[in-house]
Amino acid sequence: MQDLIRRYGAGLTGLMVLLVAFWLLMLVIIPNITLFESSFRPYLPVVEMGGPRDVYSVNNYMKVFDGSVETTILGMTFMVPVHIRTFFLTIWYSVTVTLACFVLAYPIAFYLAKIANPKSVPTLLLLLFVPLWVSEVLRAFAWWIILALKGPLNSLLLSLSLIDKPVRWITDYDAVLIGLVYTYILFMLFPIYNAISSLDTNQIEAAEDLGASRWRIHWRIVLPHSKPGIASGAVMVFMLSAGSLLVPSILGSTTSQWFTQTIQQWMNDALDWNTASAYAFLLLFLCTAFVSLVMWIFRVKLSDIAK
C-alpha cells in the first residue's frame, strides 16, 4: 500500500482501491448475499412480500426431491426425483468432459513442451488461441452446423466411406459433450503445458537411460510432476462445464437436460428467483464439495493448484 502511494500518489491509489472495492462489494459480494438470502424465502406475490407468509425455510432447497422419474442404472430401475437425476447427470457428464479434455490435452501439452521445436511453439500456441477470438455463442452454433444430420461432418465421413449412413450426432448428451470439450479444452491444456515445461528434460532422459519404457517415463516422471497442472486444469474444466448454460442450451437434444438449464427454467419460465437461487447455490456447494473430495483422494493441495 505504502509502495503504491509512493509510486502513483494518494489520489490515483485511492481511486484504484475504491474501484476494486466497488467491484468486489457491489458486483460480487452483495448480489451473491442477496441471492443467498432470497433462496431461503418463498416465492410470493409482491403484495405478500414482508407479510406473515414471508418466513425463512429450506423449502426451496427441498424442491429438488419433487416429482420422481423412472431411471435405469446398470440394468436396475429406480424412482429418482427428476432434478436430482439432472444434477447427477450434469456431474457425471462434466466428469466425462474433464476426462476427455485430459486425454486429449495431455499428449498435445507434452508435445508442445518437450517435443516440438521451441521456435515453432509460439505459432502453435497462437493457432490454439485463434478460435477464442470468436464468440462462444458462434462457436457453439458452428458445432451445431458441423454436427447436423446433413452437415459437413457427416458429408465428409460419407464421402470417405467411413460410415454408410449419416450419424445423428445431436442426440442425448453427445453434442453437448463435444461442444463442452471443444470449449474448455484449453483450460486443461495450458496448466498441463506449463507444468510439463517446468520439468527438467534430463529427468526424462535419466529415466530412459535407466531402462524405463515410454509409458513408465510418463507414469513415474511426467505425470507426477504435472499433477498440480492437471489438477488445476481438471478443476477449471469441471466447474466451467457443470456451470455452462450456453453449450447445453444450443447443442442439447430433447433428451438432454443440464442442471443450469433447470435453474434457468426456474428463473425465466417460472419467474421463481427464490427457488432458482436455491438451486444455484446447491450446484455451487455440491460441486465444490465434489471437487474437494476428488482433490483429497488424489492428494492435491489447494496451494499446489494456486502455483
Partner: protein, 360 residues
C-alpha cells in the same frame, strides 16, 4: 561385468555444424577414461552417442564389441550421470536408486535391499527415506552414482558431475569416484573441461578440440609430452617462444628466437612452419649467472607467494614476460623485484611443438 567402447571414425553433424569430426578411440574394459576439452569441443556429443541419445552421422559405436547404432538409451548397457544429476525430486533416495530395478520388474523387498547395499557402497547409509531436496550437493552426487550403479551398467558415463560442487568437496569426490570405479571395476567415461580433474582421476585422457581428438595418452604423458601447442596450453601453463628450427638431429634441435638460440626437444609432429617452443613455468629455473644452458637475461617484475610454490615473473629484452615457478622448500631464495637475473631451462624439458591443433 564391464565393457570396452570403440569409436570408429565417428562423425556427428548438427545441421551444418560438425560437432564431432572423425573420432577414433578404443577404451578398454574397466578403464577410467576422460574426455578433456573446452566447452563446445564435442565431448558431450560423444557421451550422448555412447549413451544413445544422439546417433552418429557416420562411423560406428561399439560397446563390448557390439555395434549399438539404432539401440535406444534404455536398451544399452550404459548408465549416464547428468551434469545436474537429474535425481527424481518426487521420489525418495531409495526409490531413486531402485528406479532402474523397478522398471526391470524386480520386487519391492529386493529393490530396497539393493538400494541399502548401494547406499553403503557410496558411503551414505541412513539416507534411504530422505528426499533429494533434503541432501547436500555431495550427498546428491553419491545418490546419482548409486542410482547409475544399481542397473549394473557395463559402462558409466559421467558428464561433468562435479562442476556444481565447491572446491574442497570436488577434490574429495574425485578420490571417491576413483575409489568407486576401482571397487566396481566398471568402465568409467568421464567428461570434463577441468584438466586437474582429468589428470588426477583417469587412467587415460583424450584431449579434444573442435570435434577432434588431439591426443590420447595417460595423464603423465599428456602433461609431459603434449603433441601440440593446444594440448600443452590446455593442460597447463607455458612460456612460449616464437622462432625457427635449425639443425634438427636425434629428436633434439636448436631454436632461433630474438632472445637467443635454445636447445630443446623436437616434437614428433613439429615439422615445417607454425612451430613454437613451450617451456612449463615449473621447469624454468632462476639463476644469477648465465653459466647454464638456455639462459635468458631478465629483470624481475613480480613475485607472488602461492604457498607451496613461488611464482616469479621476469621481463626479457623486447618486453616479453617469462614465468618461473619455484618450489617452496622452506629455503628458496627469491630475487628482489627490479633485480637482474637469468631464467633458464633444461633442454630435455623444453619442447618444440606445432602451434595449434593438429589433425590426427
Amino acid at each position: 561385468m564391464s565393457a570396452g567402447i570403440d569409436l570408429e571414425n565417428v562423425v556427428c553433424d548438427f545441421g551444418s555444424f560438425r560437432a564431432v569430426d572423425h573420432v577414433n578411440v578404443s577404451i578398454k574394459p574397466g578403464e577410467f577414461f576422460s574426455f578433456l576439452g573446452p566447452s563446445g569441443c564435442g565431448k558431450t556429443t560423444i557421451l550422448r552417442m555412447i549413451s544413445g541419445f544422439t546417433e552418429p552421422t557416420q562411423g560406428v559405436v561399439r560397446i563390448g564389441g557390439v555395434d549399438v547404432r539404432g539401440q535406444r538409451p534404455n536398451q544399452r548397457p550404459t548408465a549416464l550421470i547428468f551434469q545436474n544429476l537429474a535425481l527424481f525430486p518426487l521420489m525418495t533416495v531409495a526409490e531413486n536408486i531402485a528406479f532402474g530395478l523397478e522398471v526391470r520388474g524386480i520386487d519391492k523387498a529386493k529393490r530396497r535391499a539393493r538400494a541399502d547395499e548401494l547406499l553403503r557402497l557410496v558411503d551414505l547409509p541412513g539416507a534411504a527415506d530422505k528426499y533429494p531436496s533434503q541432501l547436500s550437493g555431495g550427498q546428491k552426487q553419491r545418490v546419482a552414482i548409486a542410482r547409475a550403479l544399481a542397473v549394473e551398467p557395463a559402462v558409466m558415463l559421467l558428464d561433468e558431475p562435479l562442476s556444481a560442487l565447491d572446491l574442497k568437496l570436488r577434490q574429495h569426490m574425485r578420490a571417491e569416484l576413483r575409489a568407486i570405479q576401482k571397487r566396481t571395476g566398471v568402465t568409467f567415461i568421464y567428461i570434463t573441461h577441468d584438466q586437474g580433474e582429468a589428470l588426477a582421476m583417469s587412467d587415460r585422457v583424450g584431449v579434444m578440440s573442435q570435434g577432434r581428438i588431439q591426443q590420447v595418452a595417460d595423464p603423465r604423458e599428456i602433461y609431459n609430452n603434449p603433441v601440440n601447442g593446444f594440448v600443452a596450453s590446455f593442460v597447463g601453463e607455458n612460456n612460449i617462444f616464437d622462432g625457427t628450427v635449425v639443425n634438427p638431429a636425434g629428436g633434439m634441435a636448436s631454436y632461433e628466437t630474438p632472445l637467443g638460440t635454445f636447445r630443446a626437444r623436437l616434437g614428433e609432429l613439429a615439422t615445417g612452419k607454425g612451430v613454437k617452443l613451450f617451456v612449463r613455468p615449473e621447469h624454468t629455473a632462476i639463476s644469477l649467472t648465465a653459466a647454464v644452458e638456455n639462459a635468458v637475461p631478465v629483470t624481475i617484475s613480480e613475485v607472488s607467494f602461492e604457498g607451496s610454490f613461488i611464482s616469479v615473473h621476469g621481463v626479457a629484452a623486447g618486453g616479453k614476460t617469462l614465468v618461473a615457478e619455484i618450489r617452496n622448500d622452506g629455503a628458496a631464495t627469491v630475487p628482489a623485484i627490479g633485480s637482474a637475473a637469468f631464467m633458464s631451462f633444461d633442454p630435455a624439458l623444453g619442447a618444440i611443438l606445432p602451434d595449434a591443433e593438429t589433425d590426427r
